[in-house]
Amino acid sequence: MQLVRLKCETDFEGWRNAARSLLAQGIAPEEVVWRVSNKITGLFDTPNFVPTQTQGPQLTVPRDFLVLCKTAILYRDPARFGLLYRLLWRLRKEPDLLQVAFDPDVLKVRNMAQAVQRDLHKMKAFVRFKEVHIQENDKVWSGFIAWFEPSHFVVQASAPFFTGRFTNMHWSILTPDICMHWDGEKLSYSQGANKIDAPTEDAGEDLWRAYYRSIFNPARLKVSAMQAQMPKKYWHNLPEAELISELIVNADKRKDEMIAALPTEPQRKIVKYIAERKG
């Protein structure tokens, strides 16, 4: 049995080096155990596999495969490293394997990559910054802080989006895995945080809730369509979500009242004015 130890949950380079080396030595997927360093280790958990520069025929893999691996490796499941290696192992004998979308291994990896992409997309959508002003000596530091709980290891992958968009702001995104900070010029990371480390209030949220309440059309209630795109697991970090149940409960009543209301006579002076002008 070979034990490979990776530096962290998102250690793609480590996985790639180890996988290359394992493959060159002909070590089958069933013979390999993958671990991440920061995890508590068991008695027999001493790594015995050290990747080496190997001579011999290099396997060329489709570019698609590397792209797929870079994404799928962010999936929160310890089995992913082994599964990706198994796919690589099979690719030697079945070079067209990736084209067979319904092969169970291919399907599993593609589904993992898809879940990661979706989580990354939802992070870009559902992170909510709260504005904070912190007194530091005689200076006030103004910035934005968000608390978010991604399902997969997507924080670093989201960095180009947040730095490209909120370039001239100072912000931090706190998550249980890792925290990301931007000071307007440099990106840095720190260890994971707790929800209580993030601010709870923001003056701007009241207007946002007013907007959310007003843009909702009570005559077109489609709760399952909403939940398909915005599952409940995200609600506790969305300031607008506290309105949802109230809006749903009153929707039918509001619709029925609109339908039942008798038409009113125009009261505004301009109506008469326009009518007169038209002759």
């Binding site: 319904f102 997309h121 559902f126 959310y212 749903i248 039918d252 609109m258 038409p263």
Partner: protein, 412 residues
């Protein structure tokens, strides 16, 4: 009036516009700039309301004062709803404040017609100008264009906006004449034509090789109200096909006529035809991504789409002689016509069958509805047999489409 109250009135006034897309424009970031904002090309929905609609942009009216009297519209002059007007600065600040907190992708600004089209358009364009030039805002901007505004104002709108739209409002010019007497169907189409020319020009290099002026890189879209007049689905889809073809619209939005506060007595209210709206979107997709022609989609005698089954299934049921289709041999165009197979599934089948034959078990692993697909296809280990010709095939394919889930949350 306090800002919150204005926001409530002017968001309420804007919500009958279905579009909230923030996609299809160039990619930008704020790196090297003085402000904030970026566009990714694909658009992001930052929230969803319980009506199932995406909230991507701050969608508001600059003002809901309006001199027009379109019967279907909440903002018509003869309605007694409360009125409000934002200042340019208020809209700019709201947009930036929401954007900084990552609530939105940008702004979708429209307006009631005050004084005249040019005056109104100028105010709308001014908001976009301040966002872009004063604040270096690089997020998404969608401006509603006022038909018959001057070409100079249109050019400026296109310079700042990612997307422009003009609402066609109703599927026929006759309906528009009845329900929106001040609006001119010809003028709307003329404006769309001008937008198309400007958008096309901005993509070509000029004769001197100079880069042409920026003009709405996200293209133009429109909206049609469904169910306010008696127009049938066949005419609606023909109108859409014409709009896509003649003006190269990115999207035609269908908006089921919905109850509004203080409705006109000329247009009695009823529950919005949501299923019909859904079928129209499905039909629209068939035209744009599945190679269907507008004229072949509506199969019913009455010119209406079948509400019981989706339009592709309805078409297949009427053309059973073209089925079953051999998934391992049929051309792509025919695979796209198999009920239950989406564009992605078709692509996967096409790629995989180059390597090996597609079998029954393979299909179960793709995310397709087997119940829907099986009667219409042949696989090495599957024949539809008589199920394709069965009289009750439609009943068996029919999904329960009545929106039952609502009652779960209903007030006692």
């Amino acid at each position: 009036m306090e800002l919150k109250k204005k926001l409530e009135i002017l968001a309420d006034a804007a919500k009958y516009d279905a579009s909230c897309a923030s996609s299809g424009t160039e990619k930008r970031t704020s790196i090297g700039g003085n402000g904030i904002g970026s566009t990714t090309g694909m658009g992001i929905c930052h929230s969803y309301a319980p009506d199932g609609r995406c909230i991507s942009l701050l969608k508001i009216l600059l003002t809901n004062f309006c001199v027009y009297d379109c019967v279907y519209c909440v903002n018509r002059v003869s309605s007694n709803v409360p009125r409000a007007r934002f200042s340019v600065e208020e809209v700019v600040n709201l947009t930036l404040s929401f954007y900084r907190r990552n609530y939105i992708e940008g702004l979708f600004l429209s307006s009631g017609i005050i004084r005249n089209p040019d005056y109104t358009m100028e105010q709308v364009v001014e908001v976009a100008r301040v966002l872009r030039e004063v604040h270096d805002f690089r997020g998404y901007i969608h401006l509603k264009t006022i038909p018959d505004a001057s070409p100079e104002l249109m050019a400026r709108a296109g310079l700042y906006a990612d997307r422009l739209s003009i609402n066609i409002e109703l599927p026929t010019i006759a309906s528009l004449h009845t329900l929106a007497p001040e609006k001119d169907g010809q003028a709307i189409r003329r404006s769309m034509g001008q937008l198309r020319l400007k958008i096309d020009e901005s993509k070509d290099k000029t004769l001197t090789g100079k880069k042409p002026q920026r003009f709405a890189p996200g293209g133009q879209s429109t909206q049609m109200i469904v169910g306010a007049d008696a127009t049938d689905d066949r005419v609606i889809l023909n109108t859409s096909a014409n709009l896509y073809g003649a003006y190269r619209l990115r999207r035609v939005y269908y908006s089921a006529f919905s109850p509004i506060p203080d409705a006109s007595k000329m247009l009695p209210l009823k529950a919005p035809p949501l299923v019909r709206e859904h079928r129209l979107y499905q039909a629209d997709w068939l035209m744009r991504f599945y190679g269907f022609d507008a004229v072949e989609i509506v199969t019913g005698q009455d010119g209406m789409l079948d509400l019981d089954v989706d339009p592709k299934t309805a078409w297949a049921l009427q053309h059973r002689e073209q089925f079953p289709v051999d998934l391992n041999r049929a051309p792509k165009a025919m695979l796209l016509r198999v009920p239950g197979l989406g564009v992605t599934s078709v692509e996967r089948i096409l790629t995989a069958r180059n390597v090996r034959a597609v079998r029954y078990e393979d299909l179960t692993r793709l995310r397709v509805s087997m119940k829907k697909v099986l009667p219409f296809i042949v696989l090495p280990d599957h024949q539809p047999g008589r199920s394709l010709d069965a009289n009750d095939l439609k009943q068996r394919l029919q999904q329960s489409i009545a929106p039952q889930q609502f009652s779960l949350f209903k007030a006692a």
